[in-house]
């Protein structure tokens, strides 16, 4: 693979792969449909899902920071509009 400019190419979207984590965790219902371990009297089913609200927010925030700070992509290119004023067709 050749060296790319920072923010160039589809590869800079890699932080978005992190979003697979909340989807997998939340849609796999049997993994959390139980009472134990309870937390301060709150059954697992409830505190686990409440905790995922915070984890989900953290993952979105991390993806945002990775995309803006680390890859240094501009706001325009983050919207997928890097080529010209018209929206580019990706497919």
């Amino acid at each position: 693979m050749t060296q790319r400019q920072p923010g160039a190419g589809r590869l800079r979207y890699w932080p978005r792969l992190l979003f697979a984590i909340p989807f997998a965790a939340i849609l796999w219902v049997p993994s959390y449909n139980r009472m134990e371990p309870a937390l301060g009297g709150i059954p697992f089913f409830y505190w686990y899902q409440l905790a995922w609200i915070l984890l989900g927010a953290a993952i979105v925030l991390i993806a945002y920071l990775l995309e803006t700070r680390i890859t240094g992509a501009t706001a325009r290119s983050r919207a997928g509009l890097e080529t010209d004023g018209a929206p580019g067709d990706v497919l």
Binding site: R34, F45, V60
Partner: protein
């Protein structure tokens, strides 16, 4: 129940404050409100903080605050699906909508139908998108009134009759007036008050009420065991597991296709404002999670068995759970604050929904099919008038038609609105789909989704799909939109073939 004077006074005072704000909003970030994107999108100038309040006030509606705990109170763990749903919406918001915002901003789109019209060059497909949006939103506006009606009844106003409906009608006249004059600026400013009141109320509720009931352990211990977790699937069925997961995923995919969500998103000042909010809006989800638990607190407090609240539960059913809990737990003045939070929580989304419907009607029906040559000022004037008509329609709807119909239509609305996913989502990345294939998919998805709900007597949107000898009970919206996608994919090459061999090239 007699009228609670202290609570009513606080309630009315807060309502007056919000009314004043609604009219003052016309002068906030002053611009020419006779242009549609200024009136109907706030000039696309809302920054991160205002957008956070606006979308929070828009998506977490009064009906949500009443209905989610009512569902948990009545059905237990299954009602908690609203939580995984709100977890999944933010990655979707982050992935899809900054791009939509960028395209809409570059091309001056005000509605999703504008976007689809431009991307696929089909007026008919755009019409389908606009009509679906309006039809799905109308019962949603009507349900906001249900939330308001419950708290007004809980204050002790007589239920039923013209006198009983008077507070509701006054509230909606006020709402209609400030939406007309200030457009989207009004709900944006009011949302700040609404969200603050909601945060204060819920923090008080989750501290004060459990302390009185002996802690969270005692609350969960008083709930019947079988309600606390989902029943394990038996036999050849995935039972409640597939229902819970598909309800969460389907609702999350549908949410941002609603016109009021779209309006909230398009009014942001940049794609990064939307991205930051995808992380920050989770604060409301956490509040919603706590609100859902109020359903169990109602059971633990035993207010449903308290004769003082029997009339309320008879009148409003499970929707009375939260108002009854607040009445029994808070002192009068704070009941006024809490109920005002819910009532104002109805005004914000109702205003945005009516603006969104007005934008759709004006842009994609009136301008497209009736008056293509109308001026910008005509366009804005028409939208203002339509926003009034929509609200009158919602009031008539809720007063004249049994509430079950509004709830059933809202349930159907979720199934209908998700059918916009193929044109909107595919349109973001490619134009290679044929508009007639997308339209066919929309027809197939809408028809099959409606049929699935009909088999359940319109009381549940969970359809027991049989596949390879296994039953997969799941959200009809999700099943029907899969069919919609499949039809669009299969018919696109066929439509292209017909278009090429036909007498004239298909207008694309």
């Amino acid at each position: 129940m007699s009228l609670d004077l202290t609570a009513t006074a606080v309630f009315v005072l807060l309502f007056l404050l919000v009314t004043w704000l609604g009219f003052v909003a016309a002068r906030w970030r002053k611009a020419d409100l006779n242009v549609l994107h200024e009136w109907g999108l706030g000039g696309r100038r809302f920054g991160t903080v205002v957008t956070w309040f606006l979308l929070g006030g828009d998506l977490y509606t009064a009906y949500t605050f009443i209905a989610v705990p009512a569902l948990v109170y009545g059905k237990g763990a299954m009602g908690f699906f609203a939580i995984p749903y709100t977890i999944l919406i933010y990655p979707i918001l982050y992935l899809v909508f900054p791009r939509l915002w960028a395209i809409a901003h570059a091309k001056g789109h005000v509605t999703a139908a504008d976007f689809v019209r431009d991307r696929f060059g089909s007026r008919i497909l755009a019409l389908a998108v606009a009509v679906t949006g309006i039809v799905a939103t109308m019962p949603y506006i009507a349900l906001q009134l249900v939330g308001m009606e419950v708290v007004i009844g809980a204050l002790g106003f007589p239920a039923g009759g013209l006198l009983g409906h008077l507070p509701l009608i006054i509230a909606f006249i006020v709402l209609a007036a400030f939406t007309y004059t200030s457009g989207l600026r009004a709900p944006a400013l009011i949302a700040v008050v609404k969200d603050t009141l909601i945060f204060v109320t819920i923090f008080a509720a989750v501290v004060i009420i459990p302390a009185r009931l002996g802690g969270y352990g005692a609350i969960f211990a008083s709930v019947p065991q079988e309600k606390l977790i989902l029943p394990s699937p038996t036999g050849q069925s995935l039972g409640s597991y597939s229902a819970y997961a598909t309800l969460a995923l389907g609702s999350a995919l549908a949410l941002f296709l609603y016109p009021h969500s779209m309006t909230g998103i398009l009014s942001a000042s940049s794609g990064d404002v939307i991205r930051r909010n995808a992380a920050m809006l989770s604060a409301y989800s956490f509040i919603l999670g706590l609100i859902a638990l109020l359903g169990y607190m109602t059971i633990a407090a035993g207010v449903d068995k308290d004769p003082a609240f029997a009339a309320g539960f008879t009148q409003y059913g499970a929707n009375f759970a939260v108002p009854a809990l607040f009445l029994s737990s808070f002192s009068s003045w704070f009941v006024g604050v809490a109920f005002a939070a819910i009532a104002i929580g109805a005004l914000v989304p109702a205003a945005i929904m009516s603006i969104a419907c007005a934008n759709l009607f004006t842009r994609n029906l009136y301008k497209e099919f009736m008056r293509p040559d109308c001026s910008e000022a005509d366009e804005a004037r028409m939208a203002k008038i339509v926003s009034l008509v929509v609200k009158i329609g919602a009031v008539v709807f809720i007063l004249a038609i049994p509430q079950e119909y509004a709830i059933q239509l809202q349930l159907l609305g979720g199934i209908w609105i998700i059918q916009l996913l193929p044109p909107v989502l595919l349109g973001l990345y490619t134009r290679s789909f044929h508009p007639m294939a997308l339209l066919s998919g929309w027809i197939a998805g809408t028809a099959i989704g409606t049929y699935m709900a009909a088999t359940q007597g319109f009381t549940s949107s969970v359809y027991p799909l049989e596949m390879f000898g296994v039953t997969l009970p799941g959200y009809a919206a999700l099943y029907s939109v899969v069919i919609n996608f499949v039809v669009a994919i299969i018919l696109t090459p066929l439509c292209d073939l017909i278009g090429r061999s036909g007498p004239a090239p298909a207008a694309r």
